[in-house]
Amino acid sequence: MGTSQSDLLQGTLDLLILKSLALQQMHGMGISRRIAQITNGTFEVKAGSLFPALHRMEEAGWLTSFWGESETNRRARFYRLTAAGRKQLHAESERWERISFAMASALQAT
């Protein structure tokens, strides 16, 4: 029970991170803010979950990272999608669309 729930959440977080990086490279806080923005504030990603996810995804080869300058001229670690990451985003999006469609119709059923 516990594992399946966290799997679900992990999958969600991964997808959100991939999605938020789809348009441009970003640093950790930027990703966090962007996720809040695109989910209308539903998901507030804390550093305690964000950084493990970022490092895991980088080791999986979906992201690469580099040191850069933030918009406020501070040194920050930036993340960017790789080709594998882009493919993963595509696959995950499709999966989620299927699931949410199925869930929606299940909940609408009387």
């Binding site: 640093h27 950790g28 806080m29 804390k46 550093a47 305690g48 979950s49 950084f51 493990p52 996810a53 490092h55 895991r56 080791e59 080869g61 933030s70 406020t72 501070r74 040194r75 920050a76 670690r77």
Partner: protein
């Protein structure tokens, strides 16, 4: 994959840098958050605090990241290892006992496996060794493998369709190297051309024999062995092209064999030889002369053509044998041909013995492992609470299993490392004590295959040991165990312990039975009367130089010279103080040499063409029977009057008298062999064990040296001394040097040494098996002692209560002993069944003992029973002596 490995590498070996980067990244995150708040007008202090709040614990974030990284399990492993080492070093007695037991067990197993690997498992040291065969003549009626007639070898080589090469070796000729100082005897062999290329060997220096050199007249060339080149010629680089004087003829050195070439063989193949100093061409007459079908000096090797199987080659050879049987009925009517893979042939006699030893050492290891398992169980019981607590606190079973496995792996790795280190020392020591007739001993070494075997053994042991306590942990649910006062012993545990004891006793009984059978067999062998005296006899093998004989082929009347030399030498030897008698024989019993002839008896109807009566043939000098102590049964033996010029006479043994004259008296009858003259049987003597102790006596015919039909150039001098003969060696050497300065003395041994050496294999395997069996007995009784002590300590309260309510000390003693006796009894019963079944496998190694030997089984059962009783008596006594009040307070 590459990415995975680079990540793993970075995480494991650049851990500091990775952590620093993470630190920096999170700090910059904090700053960014704080800066954002600042921009919204929050004061600096407040902004920082709120940023930190949003972050959560800094260390926690870092921990979370670390746990998700690739290679995190390595960290856990290192943690587990540290914990295991800490736990084990907190219990040094337990750890030391376990590690040392494992080291001994693994070391012993590695050592024996190294021997088995070198002798039996390694491929032969030649290219494509599976295609190498040895070809033998074998009578169609079955029977022993026989060496090959040169003419037959020619025909096999020409007519076969199965072999890419076939070559022969005549292992007999010796060479005396004349020149500088003392004459030196070199062990020679004559080989046909292509012999070395059949084995795929390339000369270290120079070249091998050419086709032309394999013909009479062109054959005064030699190839030296590497060690002969080193020892006799100082490894000089200009050796090729040099001339040597061998047996008074001049030979040219054309090549030197590489140092790693050895001719793998069974000891009996080459008349007891396993090493050659030099090779000359065989140079047989081509086409062969008729007599070359009647003499059988050659060992034949062949290499199968690619794709041809042994069975196909055998069919091909059967076809050839059929042709030869029709063409040459006189010689070949009964001849079959046997093709035997070389690898199989050389180890034919030692395979069973070596696998028996490997099984035995494995069994000792099993018994030792059972002891360690018992120790681990005891520890697991003591740690039950710790484990349950960890489960209750949320440790997963998998995590616990990993921890326990890590602990046992640490134990096994330490034991295995020490064991392998021991093997590096014990293997060379064991090789020095191996029986000399064991083949391929030079190839015994700890190699990759041995290390792989040892690792596998250690790995399996480690897994089993890890699982034993785990099994316990899994059985007991967390709650039960926490509620227990921590000293209870679960039923499952005691059942497992009992099973281990029963198993140990059963295995020990099997080993004891094996050792018992072997010992009884060796004892019987040692008591076999060889048919001659072994006390106070000294023997010396001589090689007569060419002025006395010109090779082993039919001689041309050098009998007189040889006789004169022998008489002169014997006279000198008899002058040595302490020497009572001295004589010559050509084939000393148990020396590994032999010769036989076909013969006819006067007045008997002629045999069908190609059918012969065969008898072993023994040229001896006058006084031989008296010297070596062979009893005279009928008639007379040879005296100094039996010379070249006197009537031809022979003496036969009882086996020959029985076989060919039945109840009649053979004395006065005449026989013929090796020529047209009839020879009178003048006496009958007792049988001797010539081939080996414990063999059936074969017909033997003794001939005076002066009357032999061909020349024997390797006589053995036998002398009987009044006292210990070993200190006459120098005097004997002097006597030989005075009589014939150019006659080398080959081997000097007492008869006792020869007899002892002839049963070397039996002695070796009996000794090793006996050591293993006693070790098994010791280890099993330590195990029994340990378990009974544990049981007593667990039940001490019960005994206290029993005694408090009136049980006598004797009753408690009996109670404990009964429990031990029951376990040992079951173990012995199972062991007896197993021993009775397994003993059949070593039946071929036993002499005069049946594999199912009730006396042995009974003896070892009683022995094991007594030792087991003693081992369990001590704990039982402790139980009986316990103070009832104290035991009640014990908890």
């Amino acid at each position: 994959m590459v990415r995975y490995l680079t990540s793993l590498w970075r995480n494991l070996f650049c851990q500091e840098r990775v952590d620093e980067e993470l630190d920096e990244e999170i700090r910059s995150y904090l700053e960014l958050v704080a800066a954002e708040k600042l921009r919204c007008g929050v004061p600096l202090e407040e902004a920082l605090r709120s940023a930190r709040r949003e972050l959560g614990g800094l260390e926690q974030v870092k921990d979370n990241v670390r746990d998700t990284r690739i290679g995190a399990y390595m960290d856990t492993l290192i943690q587990d290892l540290r914990y295991a080492i800490r736990t084990l070093s907190r219990n040094p007695a337990f750890s030391a006992v376990a590690v040392l037991t494992l080291a001994l067990g693994i070391g012993a197993n590695t050592t024996i496996f190294t021997v088995v690997n070198g002798v039996l498992l390694k491929p032969l040291p030649y290219p494509d060794p599976d295609r190498l065969l040895m070809l033998w003549e074998r009578p169609l009626s079955g029977g022993e493998l026989g060496t090959v007639a040169p003419a037959n070898f020619f025909d096999w080589r020409e007519q076969n369709h199965s072999f890419s090469r076939m070559a022969a070796i005549d292992p007999y000729p010796d060479f005396i190297l004349n020149g500088s100082g003392q004459p030196q005897l070199l062990a020679g062999a004559a080989v046909s051309s292509g012999f070395f290329s059949l084995f795929g060997v390339h000369m270290a220096v120079g070249r091998a024999f050419s086709e032309e050199e394999d013909h009479p007249g062109h054959n005064n060339v030699v190839v030296l062995s590497y060690s002969a080149w080193m020892h006799h010629f100082g490894s000089r680089s200009d050796i090729v092209g040099r001339s040597l004087t061998l047996n008074d003829s001049v030979y040219t050195v054309i090549g030197v064999l590489p140092s790693n070439f050895s001719l793998v063989s069974k000891a009996s193949d080459f008349q007891g030889r396993n090493r050659f100093d030099l090779f000359t061409p065989l140079a047989l007459h081509s086409p062969p002369e008729p007599w070359q079908r009647g003499t059988h000096p050659l060992c034949v090797f062949a290499r199968l053509k690619p794709g041809v199987r042994v069975a196909q080659a055998q069919t091909d050879l059967n076809r050839i044998a059929g042709i030869l049987q029709r063409l040459y009925p006189e010689d070949d009517k009964q001849m079959g041909i046997a093709a035997i893979p070389l690898g199989q042939h050389v180890v034919a006699n030692v395979r069973t013995a070596l696998f028996t030893l490997l099984a035995a050492v494995g069994m000792v290891f099993l018994i030792a492992c059972a002891n360690i398992a018992n120790l681990l169980l005891t520890r697991a019981a003591a740690r039950q609470k710790e484990m349950s607590l960890r489960v209750a606190l949320g440790a997963s079973r998998r995590r616990l299993a990993r921890q326990l496995l890590t602990e046992s792996m640490v134990l096994v790795a330490a034991g295995g490392a020490i064991g392998v280190a021991c093997a590096f020392v014990s293997v060379p020591a064991l090789v020095r004590h191996l029986p000399p007739d064991l083949p391929r001993t030079s190839e015994i070494a700890v190699d990759g295959r041995v290390l792989a075997f040892t690792s596998l053994v250690a790995l399996l042991t480690g897994i089993v040991f890890g699982l034993v306590p785990l099994f316990q942990t899994w059985r007991a649910s967390a709650n039960d165990s926490l509620k227990q006062s921590g000293r209870g012993i679960t039923a499952g545990q005691s059942r497992l312990r009992s099973t281990l004891i029963v198993g140990q006793v059963a295995i020990a009984l099997v080993l004891l039975t094996g050792a018992g059978l072997m010992t009884k067999s060796l004892w019987a062998l040692l008591r076999v009367s060889p048919g001659f005296q072994t006390e106070h006899i000294l023997t010396a093998r001589l090689s007569l130089p060419p002025q006395y004989a010109n090779g082993y082929r039919f001689g041309t009347g050098q009998h007189r010279q040889i006789s004169a030399f022998q008489r002169e030498l014997l006279d000198r030897v008899r002058q040595i103080p302490g020497v009572q008698r001295a004589a010559f024989t050509a084939y000393l019993p148990l020396s590994g040499t032999n010769n036989s002839w076909a013969f006819n008896i006067e007045g008997r109807p002629p045999k069908p063409v190609g059918v012969y009566d065969m008898t072993n043939y023994r040229p001896v000098s006058a006084g031989y029977f008296e010297t070596i102590g062979i009893p005279i049964e009928r008639g007379r033996v040879f005296n100094t009057g039996d010379t070249e010029d006197s009537p031809l006479v022979v003496v036969i043994n009882e086996a020959m008298a029985r076989a060919y004259w039945g109840g009649q008296n053979p004395v006065g009858q005449r026989v013929r062999f090796g020529g047209a003259e009839w020879r009178s049987v003048v006496g009958v003597v007792g049988d001797v064990q010539h081939e080996a102790l414990g063999t059936k006596p074969e017909p033997e015919m003794y001939v005076p040296y002066g009357q032999v039909p061909n020349v024997e150039v390797r006589p053995t001098l036998v002398l009987r001394a009044a006292s210990e003969p070993a200190n006459m060696v120098n005097a004997l050497r002097r006597a030989v040097a005075q009589t014939g300065p150019d006659v080398p003395v080959d081997q000097i041994e007492t008869m006792k040494q020869i007899v002892f050496g002839s049963i070397g294999q039996s002695r070796f395997r009996t000794a090793v098996l006996l050591v293993f069996a006693l070790l098994a007995l010791l280890v099993a009784s330590i195990g029994l002692y340990g378990v009974m002590s544990y049981v007593v300590s667990q039940r001490i309260r019960e005994f206290g209560i029993r005694m408090a309510v009136g049980a006598s000390r004797g009753a408690v003693l009996r109670l404990v002993l009964r429990q031990a006796t029951r376990l040992v009894g079951i173990g012995i019963a199972i062991g007896l069944v197993a021993a009775a079944l397994l003993a059949r496998l070593i039946g071929s190694l036993l002499y005069a003992v049946k594999p199912f030997d009730a006396v042995t089984l009974l003896t070892v059962s009683i022995l094991l029973g007594i030792v087991a009783l003693v081992a369990s008596y001590l704990p039982a006594q402790r139980a009986a002596n316990a103070d009832p009040m104290e035991s009640l307070r014990y908890e």
